[in-house]
Structures are given as structure tokens and as C-alpha cells.
């Protein structure tokens, strides 16, 4: 059977993609950001996941105001990197895992979450930047990827509790797939940041740290955080952290923190990155 073995969280700042693509990762500004991913690169090389179920949000690339799915699962055989207005990133095509993706879609919809099934979409920095941070610049990505897009751009966005429960439903779905697969679930976005309005530039280190402290052992508490607290404490764009709760839900009841990295700033954002192991 397929197993969810571990979870990874990471910010997905677009400028990080540009810095990787232009080979500027060792400048004094960027070095501390990238050094924080060295542990995970080595860990992934030994873990060798078969599939990554990658929870991210689209930033007005594949979806615009014509169509705003709350939760969308990519079931295609492959996906291209998006042209976000300055040409697509020079990264490999993303190979999907359509059999597992369709299985998850059917199972999760039967568990009362209305997913939108997508067979054609381009993937923006929300998905490709975490891949680059974790795998560097390979000729091809070393595993299959199921893109799972969450609307955190246009309110109302799904709340933390619903995201956490959705993660649990995703775990049930993956665990009932008949192939022997090592599956990781990644949750991207965050941490505190605000990129609009007079309050732009807000960073809340204490709040971010408390969020990380509770992710492994007290996800129920994190799931109770209301939208307005994210906005007030973690900035208007801090709401992306609900995607970390989908990852956490998918790990099952017990999880163990293997690693964390936190750095301010990258562009406008507090970079947060964690690795958790599923222990059930």
C-alpha cells in the first residue's frame, strides 16, 4: 500500500526562484537562506520519495478571476512551469502521478471535500520554488509530483480547521492506494509577510516561532486559529500557513520534528522550513 512517510513545509518566495536560476545563491544576502536547506537536500537523497503531494497556491497564473477553485488537484501526466509575465522558469517539466491523483480525488470527494479536478494547468513559483530549494537544479525532478492548489488569494479562503481535516482525508486516500509507494506531503507558503498596503513589510518572529513549535505536537490548537489572527499577527499574506495544516493533517496523529530553519528576510518575507516524520 502507499504510505505517507513525511511532511515538508517551506516558503515559496518568487525572488528565490530568480536567484537560483541566475546562480546568485552564495551572496551574503542569500547564503543564509539557502544553507538552511542543506539538511533537507541530503535527507531527501536518502529518503527517495516516489511521489510528492505538493500543496501550494497559484498566484494569478493558472487561475484568474474567471475561475477560483478553493481546492484543486492536478491529475495530468505532466505539467509545464508557468510564464508569470517574464517567461517560464528554466526548470524541468513536472511529471504527475495520474493514477494516484485520480484515486485521491475520488476518495477525498467521497469524504465530503469538493475538489476541482484539473488536467491542464501550468505551475507557478508556488510549486516550483520549493522543488528548486529542495532538489537544486537537476535535469529532471527525481520523483512524481501531484500538484494540489489551494485558494489563499481571494477571500473567503478555507479556514485552518478545514485544511487540517482535508489533510486527514488526503492521508486516508493515499493509505488506501494499492501500490507500494513512499509518499511525502509538502505544505508551502508563509511565514509572516504582508506585501500590500501601508503595513507592508510586517514580520512577526515570535508568532512564527510559536506556530513552528506547535506544528508537530499540537496541530489541533493551530487549526483553531481564525483568519483574522493570521492577518493581524502574520500579515495579510501570512494566511498561506493554512497550507501547512493540510500537510500536518496528512501525517496522522503523531509526528516528530526532524529539522527546522527560519530566516528573516527574503525579499518581504520570513522564510520558514520544517521537516516532519509521520510516526503512527
Amino acid at each position: 500500500m502507499a504510505r505517507v512517510t513525511a511532511g515538508v513545509t517551506s516558503s515559496h518566495i518568487p525572488l528565490i526562484g530568480r536567484v537560483i536560476d541566475t546562480g546568485e545563491t552564495s551572496t551574503p544576502y542569500w547564503k543564509p537562506v539557502f544553507e538552511g536547506y542543506e539538511f533537507t537536500k541530503a535527507w531527501l537523497a536518502s529518503e527517495k520519495p516516489d511521489v510528492i503531494f505538493l500543496v501550494y497556491n497559484d498566484h494569478a497564473s493558472a487561475f484568474d478571476m474567471r475561475m477560483i477553485p478553493t481546492f484543486a488537484i492536478g491529475c495530468a501526466e505532466r505539467f509545464n512551469p508557468a510564464d508569470e509575465g517574464y517567461g517560464p522558469r528554466p526548470v524541468p517539466v513536472i511529471e504527475g502521478a495520474p493514477d494516484l491523483a485520480w484515486h485521491v480525488a475520488q476518495s477525498v470527494i467521497q469524504q465530503d471535500f469538493d475538489l476541482t479536478i484539473i488536467n491542464e494547468m501550468d505551475l507557478d513559483h508556488g510549486l516550483t520554488v520549493p522543488l528548486s530549494l529542495m532538489f537544486g537544479q537537476p535535469e529532471a525532478w527525481p520523483c512524481k509530483i501531484i500538484p494540489f492548489a489551494v485558494n489563499v488569494v481571494v477571500y473567503p479562503v478555507p479556514n485552518g480547521r478545514r485544511c487540517y481535516k482535508l489533510g486527514q482525508a488526503i492521508r486516508n486516500a493515499i493509505s488506501s492506494f494499492d501500490e507500494d509507494l513512499n509518499v511525502q506531503v509538502w505544505g508551502t507558503g508563509g511565514m509572516s509577510h504582508q506585501i500590500q498596503g501601508k503595513r507592508a513589510g510586517l514580520i512577526n518572529k515570535e508568532w512564527d516561532k510559536a506556530f513552528m513549535d506547535r506544528l508537530a505536537d499540537s496541530p489541533d490548537e493551530l487549526a483553531e486559529i481564525e483568519h483574522v489572527e493570521y492577518i493581524r499577527e502574520a500579515g495579510a499574506e501570512g494566511i498561506e500557513l493554512v497550507m501547512w495544516l493540510i500537510m500536518r493533517g496528512a501525517l496522522g496523529e503523531h509526528a516528530r520534528e526532524l529539522y527546522r530553519h527560519y530566516h528573516v528576510p527574503a525579499s518581504n518575507t520570513a522564510v520558514g522550513h520544517m521537516v516532519l516524520e509521520a510516526c503512527d
Partner: protein, 128 residues
């Protein structure tokens, strides 16, 4: 019954909710058109003529021509959509964010290097 907006008392922040989405629909879809290189070229060749092709109101059009991002947000623009405008100008999120705060870009960058804007005093309108 009006929608509950518990975020209305967060200072310096416009949450892109249903009302803003309704208000900014054409402005945001204009932004999306700049994802195509041919449209970017036409926009930069004659900005006034290009914005006139869109059913935006005059305030929205003028805010685009002025690159007044704070005003565009007030008029229903969503920052991720507005990013298509500054990307087409070769500018970054930091440039737009700094402009919205009213700080010179280098001062804003230094604030971020120093740990960012503190939440203290910035959680509620009128907070001391």
C-alpha cells in the same frame, strides 16, 4: 445581512474579499492580459490607448497610468494581479511594497534587513 468583516480594524491592510473582488474585476483582468508578451508590448507602446480597451472606471485607469499601487488596491486591485504590471516594468514586489508604505526603497529594504515591521502598534487601528 452584511458580511462579517472582523479584519476591518487591521491598519494599513485591505483584505481582498468578495466586495473588493467585485469592484476590481476589470482592473484585475486587465492585469492578467499582461501575461502575454504581445499585450505587454502594446501596453507599453501606448498605455492610455491600451487601458481604454478595458471597461475599468477612470479612477482605476488613472491609478494604473500613475503606477499608484496603494490606490489600485483601494480600487479593488489584488496584489498578485497587480504584480503583472510591475513585472512588465521590470520591477519587484519589494519596489511595489515600498511604494505602498510611502518609504524610499532603500529604507524599506533596510527595515526588512533589520527584521521587518514590528506587529507592535500595528495590530489595531488607533493602537498606541
Amino acid at each position: 445581512m452584511a458580511l462579517d468583516k472582523p479584519y476591518a480594524d487591521v491598519p494599513g491592510t485591505t483584505v481582498f474579499d468578495a466586495d473588493m473582488a467585485r469592484k476590481g474585476y476589470h482592473l484585475n483582468q486587465f492585469c492578467m492580459s499582461l501575461m502575454k508578451a504581445a499585450n505587454r508590448d502594446r501596453f507599453h507602446a501606448d498605455e492610455r490607448a491600451y487601458v481604454d480597451e478595458w471597461p475599468m472606471n477612470e479612477d482605476q485607469k488613472q491609478a494604473v497610468l500613475d503606477r499608484d499601487y496603494l490606490r489600485m488596491i483601494e480600487l479593488g486591485g489584488n496584489i498578485y494581479f497587480l504584480s503583472k504590471i510591475f513585472a512588465s516594468d521590470g520591477k519587484t514586489f519589494v519596489h511595489a511594497a515600498a511604494q505602498m508604505t510611502g518609504m524610499p526603497e532603500d529604507e524599506y529594504k533596510q527595515m526588512m534587513l533589520d527584521g521587518g515591521r514590528s506587529p507592535d502598534g500595528n495590530r489595531y487601528i488607533g493602537e498606541k
